[in-house]
Subunit: 453 residues, 3 copies
């Protein structure tokens, strides 16, 4: 006997309680930073005008922020619409958990990344970081897509955002490593967290819903909207929070070439693994993006277009040769984020270990901040990058395990095995067939002809 999936009280209560808590915490803890505060930004302007408006971080970061924002809401949202009858939930729940996560992430990241006299300072950079953390939650969402209620997803987001901030704090602040595009912090963490959650939530009888666990023609076209947006804006994603100037420029370019090379590998292997040589749209939707993930760490380094293309080609290739379907990974996040994220961490470690003033000149300290403090050493830097991967995997798997067991409690209105991948459970779903048929009839009817004659 399945539990009720009715959301009438559970979802509103959870949303309202969460939002009220968020509002109280924002009221207590959050302040404008120097670039968004009317007084602070303008205080030095009266004398020597040391800060001109074009130096406000807004103009360096906002276009990248908007691209990242599009990836989070359109990219992830529509990528997951490939399921034939789960489009509302894919876009809708993506919308809900992203809107929650970015608020919660602002608090968690602000708390760990340095309070200013007990206050969290916010501006466009914190907005990008909050979107990044949200991206990690949406990656995990991909693994459990179709098998969870919106209440479960919100609960998952609460825990995942918190652990994401802890892991990010360990990597960036304690170990002091580089990961501008988040190969480790975002992709590896999000993927293995999600894979562990879906493993714990394993449903032995999921094949009762397997006829819905596939795409139809139009749903694949909607999903391509998501794929293409993620693909196009990945250069902005990886470069959004690097240092200004050459690092930001270089990161965008390395990512661009990695993705292009990855796409050719993707089409090659999609045709090769199919007995009739036919391309598979769902494969392409995922594998073509692996190139962006895999240069997430090394993108800001002097990887060169050549190096980026090799990494992209490898990422597109491995994305076809590993599968975690046995643990019910709905969107194949192991292929899209997990493996390429690990590859990205390794590439980042190697590239960092090879960094030297001969190549970077005075630019070295703009990529590796600890050069200035004199503690920098390329080999140990490479080592720290590698340690970070291990920490991330540990945090993700352990966090996913705990969270998975919490989500297993029968209080969230999870769908029964027979009704997974089904919008009708949580949404008012209008019909489809009726409309079209009538449309066709009316459009060709004599009446219309008469009216417009």
């Amino acid at each position: 006997m399945a539990e009720s999936t009715n959301m009438r009280l559970r979802l509103p209560l959870l949303c309202i309680i969460l939002e009220v808590i968020l509002i109280i915490l924002f009221g207590t803890l959050v302040e404008y930073n120097d670039d968004t505060h009317a007084m602070l930004w303008n205080e030095n302007r009266t004398d020597s005008a040391t800060r001109n408006d074009h130096e406000n971080e807004f103009y360096y970061r906002y276009p990248s922020f908007q691209d990242v924002h599009v990836m989070i809401f359109v990219g992830f949202g529509f990528l997951m619409t490939f399921l034939q009858r789960y489009g509302f939930s894919s876009v809708g729940f993506n919308f809900l958990i992203a809107a929650f996560s970015l608020q919660w992430a602002t608090l968690m990241q602000g708390f760990f990344h340095g309070l200013h006299h007990g206050k969290i300072h916010v501006g466009v950079t914190s907005m990008i970081n909050a979107d990044f953390c949200t991206g990690s939650v949406l990656i995990s969402f991909g693994a459990v897509l179709g098998k969870t209620s919106p209440v479960q997803l919100l609960v998952m987001a609460i825990f995942e955002v918190t652990l994401f901030a802890v892991n990010e704090f360990i990597l960036l602040s304690i170990l002091g490593i580089n990961d501008a595009g988040g190969s480790m912090t975002i992709h590896t963490f999000g993927a293995y967290f999600g894979l562990m959650v879906t493993r714990v939530l394993y449903r032995p009888n999921l094949d009762k819903s397997k006829h819905r666990n596939s795409s139809v023609y139009h749903s694949d076209l909607f999903a391509m909207i998501g794929t293409i947006y993620l693909w196009m804006f990945w250069p902005s994603f990886n470069s959004a929070i690097t240092n200004y100037g050459d690092p930001q420029h270089r990161t965008a370019m390395n990512t661009y070439y990695s993705l292009a090379a990855c796409t050719l590998a993707t089409f090659a292997f999609s045709a090769l693994v199919n007995p009739e040589g036919k391309l598979d749209m769902v494969h392409i939707q995922n594998a073509a993006l692996a190139g962006g993930v895999a240069v997430g760490t090394a993108g800001e380094m002097m990887l060169t277009a050549f190096g980026a293309m090799i990494v992209g080609f490898l990422a597109g290739t491995i994305s076809y040769h590993v599968c975690c379907c046995f643990i019910q990974d709905t969107c194949g996040i192991h292929n899209l984020h997990g493996m390429p994220g690990v590859l990205g961490a390794v590439v980042g470690a190697v590239t960092a270990a090879l960094a030297s003033p001969d190549v970077y000149g005075h630019g070295l300290q703009r990529v590796f901040a600890d050069v200035e403090t004199g503690k920098w050493n390329p080999q140990s830097r490479g080592g720290f990058q590698a340690i970070s991967l291990a920490v991330t995997l540990g945090m993700a798997l352990f966090g996913g395990l705990i969270t998975g067991f919490i989500l297993k409690l029968p209080i969230y209105g999870a769908p029964p095995d027979t009704h997974c991948f089904e919008d009708g459970l949580y949404w008012e779903v209008p019909g489809e067939e009726e409309g079209h048929q009538e449309l066709y009839e009316v459009a060709t009817s004599n009446e219309v002809e008469k009216l417009s004659s």
Copy 2:
């Protein structure tokens, strides 16, 4: 006996006449401004290079402009595709009236907002303002969607753009108030103008078309494209024409938090008001955006993320508790633009009344321009903001009334009550069913298999 809906002469004649008039007026009245004119921009560059290229307004405003442009053409256009058989008209008429309105708005706004020796100066800021005015027309379009011919819509745009410019002139130039994101000038004006027009055009027998006045599965997904784009780019909308530096940065951020909080309220109330606790996609499409509207006036002020989230949460909440369906408001613009616009005006008045140099420092005059002239007084400022709301409501309702009666004349080829919400009246509509069925057959046919073996 209904009038003919044939557009063969009416629409081409109107379009061509309007465009010829526009071209003549542009030729007579419009000039490049200082930042787009080859001579004017470069005249001082030979000596001390007082103006660097990065100071051209293009680099401060163009990314915001493009986001606003996407909201106007993709956001509004696809938001209205939720109707099952009105997708062509939603996107297509949106396209037509927006392309007309932005040209007409350039003239009207230029005329009222200060001629330079009898000439209208254009650049990226005038382009943003023209898009803003167009947005107001598209809001009204949402109220009459499905019940009007393209000729009627163009005529409505002629009047609405003109009155918009007059109202904007009264508010910004005479009363000297702030409304960067247009809670009053754009949303309140557009909504109540449209509601009055649709009231005057009331059709007692509209239920003859009610089977088409609803969504189908795929049309709701297309509409989500519109919703999500509006939602994502609203921070750019509200900040597009604020002062450079901290005001632009702050406005984007306040809007971001308002929208996030609004979204959680939206999902909460959508599930709560449904007897089975199911979410309603059309509700969410509209209510989630109310948070952007409601911080349109106060967004550039020191509202704080905390204040923005409260406003957003309220906006998402009230959006469920009022309905103007009885006056045949097709897209529910009263909930999305009307109520939240009024809320935004009130929040703006309160926030302006609370402004002080203690909070804003030297930044005060960058938000409230009249500080410099010494005429500034926060309380009277708050009062002027409130008066502006009354003026806007008056202009919108009176203008809508007149325009409604003009649109009632039986010369525009309006659809009969039996054929509202129907693309087939004005468009060559291809079938749908046939294609798919054949597609499916062919795709699985032996012949294809043989070919690719």
Copy 3:
């Protein structure tokens, strides 16, 4: 007896070989430019800080680049989804050949446009130029859409990119003409190259597939996504590589007004040419964009909004009065890119011939680079622009002829006449009908009701 269309070996082999060659050539020839190289960008920063980060070309060009990128992948990709059963191929092959072309274009353009000590320097400007060249290939793709295998398309791209770079070199470097938005280099070249290829590949029995060579309701809505994105971002396209400051600003604005005027002409003539006065979505998808093409050359000049609107209106008009359907131009690229491109070249020649220091002031040399060298003469400049058109047409037609014959070899797995415009040949195509029907049934089933009660 048709040849096999199986792609299992052909496509993977070609993709992998091409990518390996690209990687080797990038490794040998490509270097970071001054703005992306850590050492070069930072070398002067230690002393007088002559270069500030905001002067990095990234901040002038990257937002435009992203808009162009969206046009290439979403704009072109979805524009071509109008065919009822060719959506996967339209978006998918667009994706594949664009990802290849931008890499190959980087090499070809870098080779012709000036090596630096034998090396090609890359940065955001080369990325935009590579995307531009890719755009030209995608235009040609529009002519052969539905009648070619992905292997043929890749082979076409190899030749077209190469010839594009040669033609661009002749025009920009030898003849020294202006063509920032590519009326000639991109649109005229791409269109006539593609038209010649499709002419050579003429299929007398194509009517065997004619029932698939049309749109259905939803495919036209997907195509509108492409149209609208192209339309909105065309100002960014034309202005992406102009000089900084007033030229970039002016180009964006001229394009904006040209497109708006073109759209009104488009709707006028679409209704006028239809016997029942009904609008045709496919017409509008193409004609509305002609205004962007037609100001591609003159956009950066002092064309004025008035001039731009006249050009746009003309472009929208001629787009309806010529047809090249008899040579099997699937997407009507002759109307969208061919004719408007030629118009754009003519407008550019006239506008250049009328240029004078009286109008441009010190800005003259920022538009016409040869002013500084003293070789500038407006009349001869106009003449060179006209010669460039002839060169472009010659190169395109001759190149298309050769390439067409190469593509005619029966080794690429081209579709038979009976299976053109059919995704099922190269893609795993899921069904459509089944899903929906079930969806509807389940969504309204008692079981669901019970679960959520």
